[in-house]
């Protein structure tokens, strides 16, 4: 443990995630407020944030709990909303192969939207998978820690923040910061365009299925555009 805390990559990963941790604070606060509004105790709220560790699933869970939905409906809805983690897991897998099983499991547990967006760039650029893994672990632990703190802050004091500040807008901004630098090639832009149109067009689908369907359509579009570009330049 001490070796981990003094490791340069681990510390850099922790520090690099601090701006994003700040950006997700409003989301964490919203989740804490939601848990309190649904009548959960502080232990239940902490259980959600520490173990489920996914803002979207936490909000869906407390909304459905408050509405008195059956357990099976809550579980299924949260599971479907979390299907994007399967896609992240697949995209991370080739990079994590050289790491130990324990290391892989730790990174898998900490896999979130922000952690994925930040670490996939690191793994793409890094020569040493272990260094990128430690960087990713540092970032994941930073996010997890701040997530608990902001969820608790929301649980106890979230109702004090006026809605007119639109603080929740920091959440999409954080994703924009992580994804805009990717938009450099034609297939990447094609992937984003198709995913963007699809997610809005399919907004009527239940259980936020539009997110994962649009993501898959975008990935397919990007891959096809990649093949097309290859044929084009090969001539």
């Amino acid at each position: 443990m001490r070796r981990l805390v003094t490791d340069a990559d681990f510390r850099a990963g922790f520090a690099d995630m601090l701006p994003a941790s700040l950006a997700i604070a409003p989301f964490g606060i919203v989740c804490g407020v939601g848990a309190a509004a649904a009548g959960s105790g502080v232990l239940g709220a902490l259980g959600l944030s520490a173990i489920v560790f996914s803002g979207a699933a936490q909000i869906l869970a407390v909304q459905l709990l408050a509405a008195g939905a059956p357990l099976a409906v809550i579980v299924l809805t949260c599971f479907v909303a979390g299907l994007r983690f399967v896609i992240y897991s697949a995209a991370m897998a080739p990079h994590l192969r050289p790491l130990s099983a324990r290391f892989q499991r730790a990174l898998a547990f900490l896999l979130t939207d922000q952690a994925f967006a930040a670490s996939i760039r690191r793994f793409d650029a890094a020569a040493h998978p272990r260094a990128a893994g430690l960087h990713s672990l540092g970032g994941g632990i930073a996010l997890w820690t701040f997530w608990q703190a902001t969820n608790l802050a929301g649980f106890f004091m979230g109702h004090l923040i006026p809605a007119s500040w639109s603080l929740e807008f920091a959440v999409p901004l954080c994703f924009i910061a992580l994804m805009a630098p990717h938009f450099r090639t034609m297939p990447t832009i094609a992937a984003a365009l198709v995913a963007g149109v699809a997610v809005l067009a399919l907004a009527g689908l239940p259980m936020r299925l539009n997110l994962v369907v649009a993501g898959v359509l975008g990935i397919v579009a990007g891959t096809l555009a990649d093949f097309a570009r290859e044929r084009w330049t090969a001539r």
């Binding site: 701006p19 105790g41 259980g47 983690f85 897998a93 901004l173 924009i176 990717h182 990447t188």
Partner: protein
Amino acid sequence: MDGALKLGLVVAIVGALNCLSRLSFIAIFARRRVPSLLVRAFRYVPAAMLTALVLPMVVGAPVAPMAATWPKACAAILAGVVAFRTHSTLKTLAAGMVALWLLQAGLRAIG
């Protein structure tokens, strides 16, 4: 069912399912070669998934009123430009939030 018990079950079951989702392919590919077609497809995961995640947060629910949508859309586009040029999360956050507050204040001033 008692509320606290139900919440405890939600935490346990959803927590376990989320862990399985997160671990799924990391565990599957730990001992297998990843097909080259998939490696190519994985390059487009960040752009596709994050766009699908962000867009509904910016333009709101399917039928959000225009007045609520366009300041956010403008602020998001500006933030995208800042992110593309600076690669800085903090500068992107600052540009996006300040732009949104100014646009909302302007909107309130006109009426």
